[in-house]
Structure formats: structure tokens, C-alpha cells
Symmetry: C2
Subunit: 351 residues, 2 copies
Amino acid sequence: MSEDEIVSLTCPMPHRRDDTVRPAHGGGGRLMHQLIQTIIAPHFGGDAISSGQDSAVFDLAGGRCAFTTDSYVVKPLFFPGGDIGSLAVNGTVNDLSMVGAKPVSLSVGFIIEEGFSLEMLTRIVQRMRAAADSAGVALVTGDTKVVERGKGDGLFINTSGVGCVPDALVIGPDQVRPGDAIILNGDIARHGIAVMIARDGLDFDADIESDTAALNIPVQRLLDAGIDVHCMRDLTRGGLASASVEIAESSGLSLVLDEASIPVRPAVRSACDLLGFDPIHVANEGRFISFVPEAQAEKAVAALNGVPGCEDAVIIGHVTGEAAGHVTMISRIGGTRLVDMLSGEQLPRIC
Amino acid sequence: MSEDEIVSLTCPMPHRRDDTVRPAHGGGGRLMHQLIQTIIAPHFGGDAISSGQDSAVFDLAGGRCAFTTDSYVVKPLFFPGGDIGSLAVNGTVNDLSMVGAKPVSLSVGFIIEEGFSLEMLTRIVQRMRAAADSAGVALVTGDTKVVERGKGDGLFINTSGVGCVPDALVIGPDQVRPGDAIILNGDIARHGIAVMIARDGLDFDADIESDTAALNIPVQRLLDAGIDVHCMRDLTRGGLASASVEIAESSGLSLVLDEASIPVRPAVRSACDLLGFDPIHVANEGRFISFVPEAQAEKAVAALNGVPGCEDAVIIGHVTGEAAGHVTMISRIGGTRLVDMLSGEQLPRIC
């Protein structure tokens, strides 16, 4: 697809010259996609960008290499189940894992606000190292910048990562086929709700912890089990809804999801009901969907069920032959509705 | 060197538990080195970190790969001779080039403050693309985050980069040998002064433009000329002084620099005199020193002189047999003085 086509296809709301960035431009929904596709992506090059994946894949040093980047601005820096440091490591490991890459090395860029506690920085770096060790990756290069008081917000972290992709492995939205089963590796919406409760000091009875986790192990388990994985996507900003719509639009095929099959813990569902959120729009940091041939679906679920944190992996839908690029949800009472990304912002600074 | 040794050797000013980050922690001088070496580096892994280089070099996909990261917080975003976008591309290209890598792909992470102009963002992304095209690298993957008004400062950009390192090439401080000539590729201190004038609206008669430039072309020219380059370092935050001291300390060898040989344009020298700066401490973004065998020094200078922007390349000093790891400057009037990094902060947010 040419750059012009990307722009013309994905610019339903043209920017005006005097427009400015709004919080929703970072929210993982329609507006963020529009910003990326109209302003940023046209200036990027390479097939990896055009295919709408989180990691670029290209030849380097005689083999295939995956490369990805993410900045982390989560607020607060520590939340139940995680912190900005482990999140920054896991998130980048996961972006590499989603293209089938084995994560090898991460870089770390700190932007620190003047006055930030060195003791807290030390704790965060320790968490990063622990998360890296747990995922089997090395933190190999870094950078530190300091901005004046009031020009940052404590700490922002960028992590970039490189990994190796096996030569024969091709994973991406263009590999999705009609009939493919869609598998989710566990319950959704915990990360977003955990961060929101921590940020706003909401008083819920139940302990809700972020699902933040490295996904390279479950992905490796799928590949080791001989599953012909067609596509994977982690459910971060924008949640299951954005990830599903992205893949439907990129592949040009329609997806049908079965709401009753999607695991949501009771406490998370209560919180979502109270806050007026649909769990499919809430961010996760250790959840992904995979698209696999229907005949291998049960085997894939079994492979995932053996991985700690993925005991509730389950088939949540399938790909139809319809070439509309839509996502439809069959509700608990049997009705159907169209799933879309949020156009605005639900939970700012969730990652 | 073990992690404990790194900490004990480089912690002359131990942090207290209640210490906080100060502007000088980002300034490229002593305090930044202390922060990195006591708090951050002990949690990083790999030889590349220990050797004190800006890029990590490791095996990936069957070949040798270089990997680096830098965040850019320069203020203002546009300055004479450059802007944050081209700076972010050139800076990361340069970190790869300094280990002899051929830069291949860059990632870009934007942290945007709510209210930032989309038109300005567009211009900056255009500058990034132009700089990338000029350096022959591709922008292949990106990320966008938005923070609320007052929690950022317009725009911060992280660029990370990967490149290929030829198998036989080993470049680094441990390759420096007594007798090596030290070559500088042109006049110093323009970037720092240009940014400072733009920031503070100082009224100087002379036009002083940043030296921001990609260094992969001059480096390639050195290698193509058959020069056995032992070590290279770009002169960014902390300037020629920090770069020289870093290499002296890493190599354990002493350097002697000849002040009269170091090119400084008259307008830049006047500005430095007026502001009380020594040009050797001022930041550059297109300057580097290379350490080459004495017998190849003239040939190396000739190779550089043929590259646009490097017409003033010159030998500025040599490595002595003394194992003290010091840098000495022979002044214009023949005296000698010890060169050190600044302990405090000279020009915050210069890159």
C-alpha cells in the first residue's frame, strides 16, 4: 500500500492547520490511529510500518531481526501488580513477541524531572532488571536526560528492543485466513482498572492487580507446540477492541467475537460497571490474541493453559469469509453489535 | 570488570537515600556519569555497557549488530542550523557510527504534551525523514504517547537505532594504543552556543549555526581509506572535554591535547568568552574524535577533509605511554593544565 493510500484510506477526520494534540491522540483509539497514519507513518519507511505491526522486521547482519520501541508515561509509577519499570520491559518484550521474534536486547531511555528521588529511581531500575531477567533479555544500552521541575512528570521511560525472527516464520495481519480461531490468553481489563484505582485512590473491596507480564514464554510455547500462528496482537491501549479492529482492518477480513467466552474477573467487571467502561476497551499488559488454523485451536489453547498466567486461555471467536474488515460481537443474550475503537480517550497514561 | 568494581571505582560522591535528581545529572559531566555508574549500569548486562560505549555491540541473527538509544529534550525545538527532529536522527546515527556500525534502522518514540501544535509536529517529522534520507537510514517503527498540559514540555523524542558491524572491526577505548594520534573532524562548540542563543534570545552579531550532522559518511570514508581506527567518540553533552576524559579513563591511558590546534570559529570563541564557557566543555552534534595509529594520521585527516563539513579536520593531540588515564591540555602559551569533565551543569537541555 502506498503512503498516499494509507493517508486517504485512514483520514476520516482531517486535521486542521491550527489543531493541537489532545489526550485522546495518545489513547490507542481512532484519534491516535489517525495521528499516526496521517502525520507520522507517511514519513516512515519499510514494509513493517505498512503492515501495521508493533515491531518492524527486516534483514540485518545476515538474518531476520525485529525492532520495536515504546515510551512509558504511566501514572502512578507504582500500581498494584507492577510499576513503570517492569511495564517498560514487559511491553517491549511483548511487541517483539507478537511478530514471533525471540527478544534479545533492550535499550532504556530515562527522561527524569528535576527533584525526582534517586531512591525511587533505584527501585525502578531494580524492577527493570528483575523483569528483564525473568523474560531472559538483557538491558544493553541506555540514556539519561533531565528536565526542569514542571517540565516533566517524575519519570518517563522509553524501551526499545531487538530480537531474532526465525527465517521460516511469517506472522502478521496479512496471514489471517477465513476460519481462523481467535484465542485469548486469559482474563482482560485488569491492568487498566488497577492503574485507575491506584491513581484516583478509589476504594474497591477486591484486590485488582495489573496483568503485566512478558509474553515471550506463552508465544514460544505455541510455536514449540507446532501451532501455525498466523497473527498475534497484544491488548494494550484500546484493549481487545482496538486490537481486534486493527487486525480486521489490516487483514480486510471480518471477525466475530463471543462475549460470553471472554474472561473478566468479577471484581473487574464490577469496577467496569461502576465506572461505565466496557472491559473490551480497557488496557491490558499481559494479554494477547492469536489467530490460528481452526483445526489447531484446541491444541493451541492446551499449550497456553500450561503457562503460568495463561490458565484461562480460551477461544473467543473466529474469522469469517466476509471481506468487510469489521468486528462483530455476539452478546451474552444472543444479539450482535459492531465493535469499534473508542474515538476519544478512556484512561489517559495507562502505560 | 564486575558490577561491584564499577560502583566502587566511580563513586567519589555517594548518593544519599534522600537525594534527588538535579539538572546536572543530565549534563554529560561528572554527576551524570556517577548517576549512570552507581544507579543504572549495575542493573544492565553485557560487555557493551562495561566498555563505556554509546552503542552496544552483540551477535544477532548470525552477524554483529550495534544498538543504541537517546532521548532528545532540546529547548527550543527549532534553533539555527537544526531542530529536535534532525538532531534526534543524527544523534542516533552518530552513536552507531562511533562503534564502526553501518546504521540501518531507527525507531522513534514521541512524548507529546497536550496542546502541542499538529502543524509543528508535522514539520518535525518531515525534518526527521529528511535527515534519515540524508544519512541513508530508515525510520521503521514508532510510538506516540500524550501527557497532560504541564506534565511535559511540548515534545520529547526518543530515537533508538540498529546497525551492522563488520565482523573484523573492533573499535573501542580498549583498542587505544600509546602513540595514537587524536583527530577532530572540525570546529567545536557551535551546537551548544547556537542553542543557547536561540533559547535566551541573546543578540550576537554573527550567525552561529549548530553543527548537527550525521557522522556515518566521514566514518565510512576513514574505513574505506584503510585507516585502522582504534576508537571514536562523538562530542555531545560535555563536549570535547567529557569525551576525552571518558576515553582516557576507559582506556587507562593519558591523552595530551594541543589547544592551539583545536578549531573554534571566531564568533563562537567570542560568545564563549562573553558567557564564560570554555569551548571544550560546550556540546557539539556533528563532531567526533578518532584515535588512529600515528603513521596513518595524515592519511586519516586527508580522508576526512574530503567530506563536506569536515574540511577543517585536524590532529589535535596524541596518546601517551603514561597509564594515569588523564587528559592534559597544552595551552596556547605553552603551559599545561589538566582537563576534566564539568562536575555541574553548563547548558541544560542542549540535546
